[in-house]
């Protein structure tokens, strides 16, 4: 009994920091609809500032003021980010801002390394709260009790702020209907800035308040972000009480997971998330999303036409150049191009569902990695010839997408995105933890192509044909009736249903096609690298694809491919430099600000404006 109580207390104490960070993210999302990837970075900065301040300010007063000051500083940093990086792109398509926040993550990672150095920092202990209290015979750290006591006050404070003050009423109104707030004559941009301050400050507080239980290190930004997403989704996007309940739920569950299912702790969180989303699609306390918030805000897409003669000639010329590469260039160029083509296919497969279908997936890596693993497992365990194993990759990924898609398409908007994320994390944790089969983190190695494909040249041509073939297939499908139907379901699901189109079936089909093509890319990947590891299934991999689609232009057909090419080449060049993350981050932020319609979309607009390109016939 004593142990049980002690475990509950541990869970409650752990919930404190998680709640602070998650409530900040939830607030920001609720009001601004920005999915702030950089929220974990703010948490990390909170921890580093906290340590620096605690080491400067003496005593208990210094300790607690350091925590508050960290919150304040991080809030101000949040304001700087909001004004400099996000404000210029509010008019861009929804979710475009997440590309900018991704750039911010990179910048902050390198800045933190420059300022605080590489060594992990141990957090100072709270003065006067350094020992334990015995509760029913079990030791409970005093600081844990302090955290348990503080959290409800923060919750109450936020609750008071949101329900009892004018600012709070505006925030709540904005969460439900942004246009209305604008109509009320409130300066929306300052409301956004204010909310960003509050949300960031909460993340900073979270980072500082956890110091006595841990410390600061350069990996904590990405380590917390997935848990925070889970909490926000389970609680309901935009709900503060939801964030609180979900933090406690996840933390307490984790304590018991550690005690009774020690090897399954990774999976547990995502299983809970998937179950909650399936039973309560909008989280425990969330509200149903309004229509038109599915990444399709802003001006509507333009009508599309298959490339004309000039377009086809240009593509043919490009392909001819690519085909001749092995003749006049070294083998590394082919290796690099192989990587680029694979990534382009992966991005194109996401773009098919995301742009054409308005289905924003946060978990597309599941099908890329899933296909790669499927092929690798066949090779490892049954010595299947490479040709057959390779064909199994898109097949397996497609089947996986059919299975997961069936659940996911029941939801829409950001909840759809979160369920795809939950499923991809399930696949990731399976690959990571099912050590006997997948090799866990040590992955599957020596998965090389068949003899006739093993040379760099041969595999390059193979990738060129299959990869470009896949991209062209996707593009053709976009122009085919199925692609049009998909676009129809995105533009107006009601109209589609009223004209005999089964919207969910179309979306499910698109989801499966996108999954299968991602699996094809995964198949190409695994045989080009000779190995596969769980990191190809990580959230980061899904976000890579998402980011290049937005970067290239979500309202274009070739955005994904162009964005992927741009990103791979930029990375290849920049990683040679010392502070490449900083530079890459700034490049991404720069592109986002200069080209809010994405690279392709902005090029199209600019060339129309300066008369290089005629405005399309149907826009007259």
């Amino acid at each position: 009994m004593g142990l049980f109580v002690a475990q509950i207390l541990t869970g409650l104490a752990n919930a404190a920091a998680l709640f602070l960070v998650a409530s900040g993210l939830s607030l920001i999302f609720g009001v601004t609809r920005i999915v702030n990837f950089a929220h974990g970075s703010l948490y990390m900065l909170g921890a580093y500032f906290g340590i620096t301040l605690m080491n400067t300010l003496p005593g208990a007063f210094g300790f607690w003021s350091a925590i508050l000051l960290s919150g304040l500083i991080i809030g101000l940093i949040g304001v700087i980010i909001e004004i400099c990086v996000l404000r210029p792109v509010y008019r861009a398509p929804e979710l475009f801002q997440l590309v900018a926040t991704f750039g911010v993550i990179l910048v902050i990672q390198d800045l933190a390394l420059m300022i605080w150095g590489a060594e992990d920092r141990l957090g100072p202990r709270a003065p006067g709260l350094k020992s334990v209290v015995r509760i029913m015979g079990e030791p409970v750290p005093q600081y844990d009790l302090a955290l348990i006591a503080i959290t409800p006050f923060i919750l109450l404070g936020l609750w008071w702020l949101i329900t009892k003050t004018r600012i709070g009423i505006l925030v709540r109104a904005a969460t439900q209907d942004r246009e209305m707030v604008g109509a009320l004559g409130v300066n929306q941009s300052w409301l956004f800035t204010g909310v960003f301050f509050l949300g960031s400050a909460l993340a900073g507080l979270g980072g500082a308040i956890q110091l006595p239980k841990g410390g600061a290190d350069l990996l904590m930004d990405l380590n917390i972000i997935s848990s925070v997403f889970v909490v926000v989704v389970i609680g309901g996007m935009g709900s503060i009480p939801g964030a609180f309940v979900a933090s406690v739920l996840i933390s307490v569950l984790n304590v018991f997971g550690v005690a009774y299912l020690p090897q399954s702790t990774l999976v547990l969180m995502y299983v809970v998330m998937a179950v909650v989303l399936l039973l309560r699609p909008y989280g425990l306390f969330g509200r149903e999303e309004k229509a038109g918030e599915h990444g399709q805000a802003g001006e509507p897409d333009r009508p599309i036409r298959p490339a004309g003669l000039y377009g086809r000639i240009a593509v043919a010329a490009l392909l001819a150049v690519l085909a001749l590469i092995p003749v006049f260039s070294g083998s590394f160029t082919q290796v690099l191009l192989t990587d680029i083509i694979i990534f382009c296919l992966f991005a194109a497969s996401l773009q098919f569902m995301l742009s054409t279908g308005g289905l924003v997936s946060f978990g597309h890596a599941a099908y890329f990695g899933g296909g790669a693993y499927a092929a690798a497992l066949l090779v490892s365990y049954s010595d299947t010839p490479m040709e057959i194993a390779f064909m199994f990759a898109p097949l397996a990924a497609g089947l996986l997408a059919i299975l997961f898609g069936w659940f996911c398409i029941r939801l829409s908007g950001v909840y759809f995105a979160m369920l795809t994320l939950a499923f991809s994390q399930l696949i990731w944790s399976a690959a990571f933890q099912w050590y006997e089969v997948t090799g866990g983190d040590d992955g599957l190695v020596n998965i090389w192509p068949a003899k006739w494909l093993s040379g760099t040249n041969a595999y390059y041509y193979f990738t060129l044909i299959v990869g470009v073939g896949g991209i062209i297939l996707l593009r053709h499908l976009t122009h085919a009736p199925i692609g049009y139907a998909l676009r129809g379901t995105r533009d107006s699901a009601r109209q589609a249903e009223a004209t005999g189109i089964n919207v969910k079936l179309i979306q499910w089909t698109a989801f499966s096609i996108a999954g299968a093509l991602a699996g094809l890319a995964g198949g190409l990947f695994v045989f080009s690298k000779g190995s596969i590891f769980p990191n190809e299934l990580e959230i980061a991999k899904s976000f890579d694809a998402l980011i290049v689609v937005f970067l290239g232009g979500v309202k274009t057909l070739s955005g994904g491919v162009v964005g992927a090419g741009f990103m791979e080449v930029a990375k290849d060049w920049l990683t040679r430099l010392e502070y490449w993350r900083l530079i890459l981050g700034l490049v991404i932020i720069g592109v986002v600000i200069i080209a809010p319609d994405g690279i392709v979309g902005t090029l199209r607009k600019v060339s129309e404006r300066i008369g290089l390109r005629r405005t399309e016939e149907f826009m007259k």
């Binding site: 142990l3 141990l122 020992s131 030791p139 904590m220 006049f328 050590y435 992955g443 690298k529 190995s531």
Partner: protein
């Protein structure tokens, strides 16, 4: 002039330019996670640069300077493979080294085996590199996880502890480290039981719950494999809640300065650990290295990574010297039973599994001047602790 001749001519020109550059120095491709795992990669890089400077100041190898090309893979195996190709085919590297993460090491090793590049895996801990996934082109410097676990098991077997709890990060290295400890301890003392096995997610430990779960199992002794931020949190919660009182703790790598230093005055006392007690050397090559390192980097103290980086360069230089050439077949032959003089004494790259005989320091942790140190330490030669040649042969794929 036809197109064909034009292309051929430019290709020849390109090749000529490339090779003329290569004539200057011997290039070694070094791939690592300089950003992703900066805390480990930076001291390692400094060790490399120290050795490189020493060698080049002394006239280089084969009368040519040694040049390391450092490239960041961001901790991604796929990127590392791409960079490895670039280093070998475009930059003119004669061989590859690098990686701290096991998975990246395994990915490069697989590429090395397929393409016939020589790869010296300096830091990665996965024993699969030289055993299950071993290949003739991959060599490993660092003491194997198996041996380090066996060293701790040997010490553990001497006590009367029967009930053991283990805690290890939930990924391949953690799993292997626990398996090796169990195997060796059971061999020495069949009556031991493992009453609790904890598997926190790497760098996401929930230390309070882990400590409670271990405490609930009432073990006599604990085997710890956590490191980095996880170790900090585990030690803090464990000390606070009295988990380590009257219990023997065996810590894999815990004594390495990378992990012990950040703990400051909270470093645990009385743990039996593997590590690197650089502050304890009084003479000999070990001390010489420490002095040279601190002279080169006055604000730094050496880490185990510094030593591994330094020994990596020494190993490569020795191989080049023995081969008398930078060609792969000659280098490959040279690595066979290659002997290298290092700060740890002479090590040998064993022909049987391409594993070096770099040993490990074991000792007990203590606090000195508000910092954690290893006392009563000794250096252990790994050879007696390795699996038998037959076992290794059975593990390694046929060549």
């Amino acid at each position: 002039m036809s197109l064909k001749t034009l292309i051929a001519a430019s290709a020849a020109l390109l090749a000529a330019t490339c090779s003329s550059f290569a004539a200057d120095s011997i290039k070694i491709g070094e791939i690592n996670h300089y950003k992703r795992l900066a805390a480990f990669a930076e001291p390692y890089k400094k060790g490399i640069e120290l050795a490189q400077k020493e060698i080049n100041d002394a006239g280089g190898v084969l009368d040519r300077p040694l040049e390391f090309i450092f490239r960041d893979d961001n901790g991604k195996p796929g990127d590392a493979v791409k960079i490895a190709e670039e280093l070998m085919t475009r930059e003119g590297a004669v061989m590859l080294t690098g990686s701290i993460l096991s998975n990246v090491g395994l990915a490069i090793a697989s590429l090395a085996g397929e393409k016939g590049y020589i790869y010296l895996a300096a830091e990665p801990l996965a024993d699969a590199l030289v055993w299950e996934s071993g290949n003739p082109y991959t060599f490993r410097l660092r003491t194997s996880t198996y041996v380090q676990a066996a060293l701790l098991a040997e010490e553990a077997a001497k006590t009367d502890a029967i009930r053991y709890a283990t805690i290890a990060p939930n990924y391949a290295y953690g799993t292997a480290a626990v398996a090796a400890f169990k195997e060796n301890l059971k061999k020495l003392k069949p009556e031991v039981e493992f009453v609790s096995e904890q598997w926190p997610a790497l760098f996401k430990i929930d230390a309070g719950s882990e400590v409670q779960a271990i405490e609930a199992a009432k073990p006599d002794a604990i085997y710890n494999v956590t490191f980095g931020p996880d170790l900090q949190k585990f030690v803090r919660e464990g000390s606070l809640r009295g988990l380590f009182d009257d219990r023997k703790v065996y810590g894999l790598l815990t004594g390495e300065p990378e992990y012990l230093d950040p703990l400051g005055d909270e470093a645990p006392e009385g743990w039996f650990v593997t590590g690197y007690p650089w502050y304890g050397f009084t003479e000999g090559p070990a001390k010489d290295f420490v002095d040279a390192y601190m002279a080169a980097y006055p604000d730094e103290t050496p880490k185990i990574g510094s030593l591994v980086g330094y020994m990596t360069v020494k190993s490569i230089a020795a191989a080049l010297k023995k081969a008398g050439s930078t060609e792969t077949p000659a280098l490959l032959a040279a690595f066979e039973d290659l002997k290298v003089d290092t700060p740890m004494g002479e090590i040998v790259y064993r022909g049987i599994d391409n594993q070096s005989t770099m040993g490990a320091y074991v000792g007990t942790t203590a606090l000195k001047d508000g910092k954690g140190v290893m006392v009563d330490w000794s250096y252990k030669d790994p050879v007696p602790y390795m699996p038998s040649d037959e076992e290794i042969k059975a593990k390694r794929p046929a060549e």
